[in-house]
Symmetry: C2
């Protein structure tokens, strides 16, 4: 059952500071997560507890870009952090455990079948339960065990953070950012829930949701946490925010486009789930706001239908294109990335950090998965 | 919407150390929770965030015995803590926020309609959503918003703990206990899930689940946290464990009896839900283990049926009585309480703490709600 997280199981090494290789950061993150879960395996009170640990390890090893740990370490370097001390890597990696909770619960809430091209965790747990033929309803077991495992990942992210070996001053500086991150993402998710169902043309609400659930959660706060660990002041923090919010919004806008126009073989998510859910994305809000009467009828009658077929999904896509919503979103992504790159031109960050952030901004605008 | 937690909205005061009034501890806990949520209200980014805060306040103010904060403060006094400093009260109260997560998610997992004689949180949220006539499916909204609000309560319990104003030494001493508590309860809940469905006669598994999900979570670890805050050593901690495990098991065994034989007007929970769920309690495992062929047929065919009617529930109850399972559980409660009281006779705790723990052990054995 034991499978190391990441393709290579490297031990923690220090980064070559002149290069700031993002793939190296990902390896360090995975090694730290493996080490944390190894300790949990060793101290497991019984085979059932071991099963929980290894299920979580399996989920973490099934993929993911480690974007929050990467941002956290970029924040560390941006604020002048030297080398990459193990405690800082562990603190950064703890964000991935928090994110595991967010993803696992998100999949339960969306009732999704697939993530990263594999079964979602609640489906996997249901399947495993069914094969064992124990008592009870397998679907329900899967959902409930996934809720619990998400809670455990949340509690463990906190444990991983505060057992990382940071100095009291580092903990003191980073905790308010971590607290803000956790509240903000829950709030963003709540806004998302409130908007889900029938499409509305409220672009402002959709942007606010994307700002909280993605821009602040995925980019701004991880950068702030890393910078706080390096002892940064408000000037660095403000520059990071000025970069983070446009990049994070671009990231979510690209995600919204991929959810509707992307190739599910690349995204790893089922086709058209966003349309069936009736997710109130900026893309959809723009289409509703710009639609004529006939286009509006298509959106109102089809978006949010749980039994949407391929032809109906195509009809929605036609409206997203013909209203110009798709190209407006494309322009929004481009202008946000440009704004973020402009911030980097003036930002007081060391060059390796600036270069890494530049690459990340670029990947937000062009990614396909 | 704003409703203060608890029936009286007192400010934090120091306890009269000679008396150790449990009701006073509950008032202090509620005041600390109110104060924390007041700060969250004041800093809410929008009316939707405010809504989340006040929904959580409403849930907390709907009742509950505050048993974990009470145990935490008993641990503090047992280990020689003087007065009741505000940071210690806040740390104790943070356990109630964690427990809010556990209850909210538990009700989602059990698909329960009522708690404390009111709608469960996911039902309340669904109802509210339905009245507003927004887009989407109200039931699903309720479930998903409750999952999120549970996550938020978990994150905030941690925030409340680390912003309580404890000294670094106190934080250092208490965090391992808090970490253990969080992992243990998730593990206990997972054992519970694994056993739910068809009844089995595995009394050992049922006892292990009750030990993790209740005895350690509700009694032992809160006592340890309070004692750690007071700077206790291993002797005090071991004495607390010797008291806590039997009391906690008695507490869960009483809960199992109330779930089947209790008066739902007093318990606030719907009648016969435990039987419909097929909860694998010690009571049920004992009945299965002691049943003859005819009794076993009754249990196997009825326990875990979601459409169980009153007559069928009575048939199960008859078997629980006629196999002697009910009276064995009663004896187990009595012997565990006696064991815990015996520990108190020899324990090195100050008298007010010993007296409070004695009262708590007694209430575990005789409570009706």
């Amino acid at each position: 059952m034991r499978a190391a997280i990441g393709t290579e199981n490297r031990t923690l090494t220090t980064l070559d500071h002149s290069a700031l290789e993002l793939s190296e950061i990902r390896h360090m993150t995975d090694a730290a997560l493996d080490e944390f879960l190894d300790r949990k395996s060793l101290t497991a009170a019984s085979h059932q507890m071991l099963e929980l640990v290894e299920t979580l390890r399996g989920f973490l090893s099934s993929g993911g870009k480690r974007i929050r740990p990467v941002m956290c370490l970029c924040g560390w370097y941006a604020a002048g952090g030297k080398e990459t001390p193990r405690p800082v890597v562990k603190a950064a990696a703890s964000l991935e455990l928090f994110h595991a909770c967010a993803l696992i619960h998100d999949d339960v809430m969306d009732n999704s079948d697939a993530r990263r091209g594999r079964l979602t965790l609640h489906r996997l747990l249901a399947e495993r339960h069914r094969r064992r033929d124990p008592p009870g309803n397998a679907e329900r077991f899967g959902t409930n065990a996934a809720i619990l495992l998400g809670d455990l990942a949340l509690a463990w992210s906190d444990e991983m953070f505060h057992t990382a070996g940071l100095s009291p001053a580092q903990v003191q500086a980073a905790l308010p950012m971590l607290d803000a991150m956790r509240s903000e993402v829950m709030f963003g998710q709540y806004l998302d829930l409130l908007g889900t169902g029938r499409p509305t043309g409220d672009v402002g609400e959709a942007l606010m949701a994307s700002r909280f659930k993605t821009a602040k959660y995925t980019v701004e706060r991880p950068l702030h946490i890393g910078a706080a660990l390096a002892g940064s002041g408000p000037a660095i923090r403000d520059a990071l925010t000025a970069y983070a919010l446009p990049v994070g919004e671009a990231f979510q806008l690209r995600d919204d486009l991929l959810g509707v126009f992307g190739d599910s073989r690349q995204t790893g998510k089922p086709v058209d789930d966003d349309l069936r859910e009736g997710k109130c994305t900026v893309l959809m809000a723009l289409a509703v706001a710009r639609a004529d009467a006939a286009q509006l009828r298509v959106l109102r009658s089809l978006v949010g239908c749980s039994d949407l077929d391929a032809e109906e999904a195509d009809a929605i896509r036609d409206v997203l294109v013909s209203t110009g919503a798709r190209s407006v979103v494309d322009q929004m992504i481009t202008s946000r990335c440009r704004r973020a790159l402009g911030v980097l031109d003036r930002a007081p960050f060391p060059l390796p950090a600036t270069n890494a952030l530049r690459r990340l901004a670029h990947s937000a605008s062009v990614r396909t998965s």
